[in-house]
């Protein structure tokens, strides 16, 4: 069953020959305040968030992009979800250019980000209705679809009328996942979907992602700094470091290539640095975009 079969004419928008995601020489540079200078006339220097990134994701594939905070993962997700405009190169989703055909892509893509952003005074149900209307789902459709999808992500249905501000971080993230899945995306962009969750919630979300993969024709791009998560969920794992994609291949190939046993060791072998994935670091993409 699909929740929105009659409202979203996806079939006609999909180029069945094209890969789900095709990124070629993609570049994005932000300007960042120079730490050595300060005040109103502080100098700004270019800071490459993505530097000539090239990769392809096949339809139905789950690819994980690993990277420390500030490596460019969120920038990549934002570019693919039409929220940023690149400085060079190109990105295509099912054959559609993200810049020139953004309205088509918006029908195909949805996203879960690290912060579960909602209208805090509104309930889970109301927030989901709001999101679903944008994709053409009527009140009659959401009346059944919302409780159903909330149950599937492990959200207690009896709490769907509670204001979001009263829900725990884990509960909010489940609603965020429900919001993304409710609109039937064929490309799901997961940007640190389990960051900050308690171990149990983390496992539940991971299990749900696995179920979505197993039973549906969805392509998943998972950006994370959790190497274990990438290893268990993804077909191929890529490493984004300081805006450069160092590799993108199956986990076993990565280990074989670097002659190591773990992805942490592969990271060290590829970059010469320890993998440090501190949360909320000022080097993350958010910082760069907000204060840069």
């Amino acid at each position: 069953m699909s929740f929105a079969p009659s409202t979203i004419d996806l079939a006609s928008r999909l180029d069945r020959q094209a890969p789900a995601v095709e990124v070629r020489d993609l570049r994005k540079t932000f300007k960042r305040r120079d730490r050595k200078t300060s005040g109103r006339f502080a100098r700004k220097r270019p800071w490459p968030a993505l530097a000539d990134v090239t990769f392809t994701i096949a339809r139905g594939e789950c690819v994980a992009i690993l990277g420390q905070n500030g490596s460019g993962k969120s920038t990549l997700v934002r570019l693919l979800s039409t929220l940023l405009i690149g400085d060079g190169g190109e990105a295509r989703v099912f054959g559609h250019d993200v810049d020139r055909e953004s309205s088509t892509i918006r029908r195909l893509v949805n996203r879960v980000s690290v912060e579960a952003s909602f209208f805090k005074k509104m309930s889970a149900s109301e927030n989901l209705s709001y999101a679903a209307r944008f994709y053409g789902m009527t009140p009659r459709q959401t009346r059944t679809a919302i409780p159903e999808i909330l149950t599937k992500v492990g959200f207690p249905p009896e709490r769907r009328g509670e204001a979001m501000e009263n829900l725990s971080r884990g509960m909010q993230q489940k609603v965020a996942l429900a919001r993304a899945l409710l609109t039937s995306p064929v490309l799901l962009l997961l940007d640190e979907p389990t960051t900050g969750l308690d171990p149990r919630s983390k496992l539940e979300v991971q299990e749900f992602i696995r179920q979505v993969r197993a039973e549906h024709d969805a392509t998943i791009l998972l950006c994370t700094h959790d190497m274990a998560e990438a290893e268990v969920l993804a077909d191929r794992v890529g490493l984004l470091d300081r805006g450069r994609l160092l590799f993108l291949e199956p986990v076993e190939d990565v280990k074989r290539r670097f002659k190591v046993d773990t992805l942490e060791e592969a990271f060290f072998a590829a970059t010469g640095r320890e993998f440090v994935a501190e949360e909320g670091d000022e080097n993350d993409d958010e910082y760069r975009e907000v204060f840069g």
Binding site: L83, R106, R111, R133, S184, P185, V186, Q211, E289, G292
Partner: protein
């Protein structure tokens, strides 16, 4: 499990011809956009319900503020009939100021509130046309603003004891509805300001509102202003809305063509210009990563 992900199967139909597919897709797209428009109005209803007491407090402030203006007529010590006319003229001006304030507030909140809540990226990556998105916000603002303006007008008129025996309320409402189309267009232009300056953009919307009203004869006839301001007043939709509403409520005048045609022209021009301005601002924000920025 049967979640909604990946429903890519083509619709089961009898296989319409090329024209049928085009028309079908257009109909589907139109339907989806209308549902999206409803979604914007519905969300604002939820939020209004949640913040009802705050809105009530703001309503009390608006009434108090309007009273401070309308009491000026009492202080002029005019004969009763003239005092009544002066009070009504001030009340109409203050009511339209409040109405316009609601529209500008809602329009600038299109971006500002969603950025504060963090939902802006989800709204901007949804397949809703920007016109429908902004028009939906404007449509709710007009409905909500009209209700508040009516309450304000009746409350102040009753408190001070102003009479409007000849009032043609239908004509005044009609003119205000027509002017609202222009107000939405101008509001769309100002709603882009928080995209450009997350910190100060929203406040700049109120500056625009003030500038529009100062040249529109809000509490005085346009003729008392310097000539250059009178020229500017000709392109302000508020000029025709205030003049027309005053005449309808005080003198019982119906819809006057001299007020209607400028409003029609401004309405036709304001929305496309507003949308073009918004698109430029949105592109700027997407280019510089300013869409999601807490300010």
């Amino acid at each position: 499990m049967s979640s909604g992900v990946g429903s890519t199967e083509p619709p089961r139909s009898a296989g319409p011809g090329f024209a049928g597919v085009g028309a079908g897709r257009l109909a589907l797209e139109t339907r989806n956009q209308l549902v999206g428009l409803f979604g914007i109005v519905e969300r604002n209803m939820y939020l209004t319900k949640r913040y009802f007491l705050w809105d009530l407090a703001f309503m009390v402030w608006t009434i108090a503020n309007t009273l401070t203006i309308v009491f000026i007529a009492r202080g002029l010590h005019l004969p009763p009939a003239e005092e009544n006319t002066a009070a009504m003229a001030l009340l109409v001006g203050a009511t339209i100021w409040a109405f316009l304030g609601i529209i500008f507030e809602f329009m600038t909140e299109t971006v500002a509130w969603e950025r504060w809540e963090g939902t802006i990226e989800y709204t901007f990556m949804a397949p809703l046309s920007r016109f429908v998105h902004l028009f939906g916000q404007g449509a709710f603002a007009v409905l909500y603003g009209l209700i508040r303006a009516a309450i304000l007008f009746l409350a102040v008129a009753a408190f001070i004891g102003i009479h409007a025996p000849n009032a043609n309320y239908a004509a005044a409402l009609g003119l205000l509805a027509l002017a609202s189309l222009s107000f939405i267009g101008v509001g769309i232009m100002t709603s882009v300001l928080p995209l450009i300056s997350p910190e100060k953009g929203a406040q700049l919307g109120f500056v625009c509102q003030g500038l529009m009203l100062v040249v529109s004869g809000i509490y005085y006839p346009v003729s008392v202003m310097p000539e250059w301001m009178q020229w500017i007043s000709k392109i302000s939709p508020a000029t025709y809305a205030i003049r027309g509403c005053r005449n309808s409520i005080i003198h019982g005048t119906g819809l006057v063509w001299a007020d209607v045609w400028p409003l029609l022209i401004i309405a036709v021009l304001a929305t496309p210009i507003g949308l073009a301005v918004f698109r430029v601002g949105e592109r700027h924000a997407k280019k510089h990563g300013k869409l999601k920025r807490a300010g």
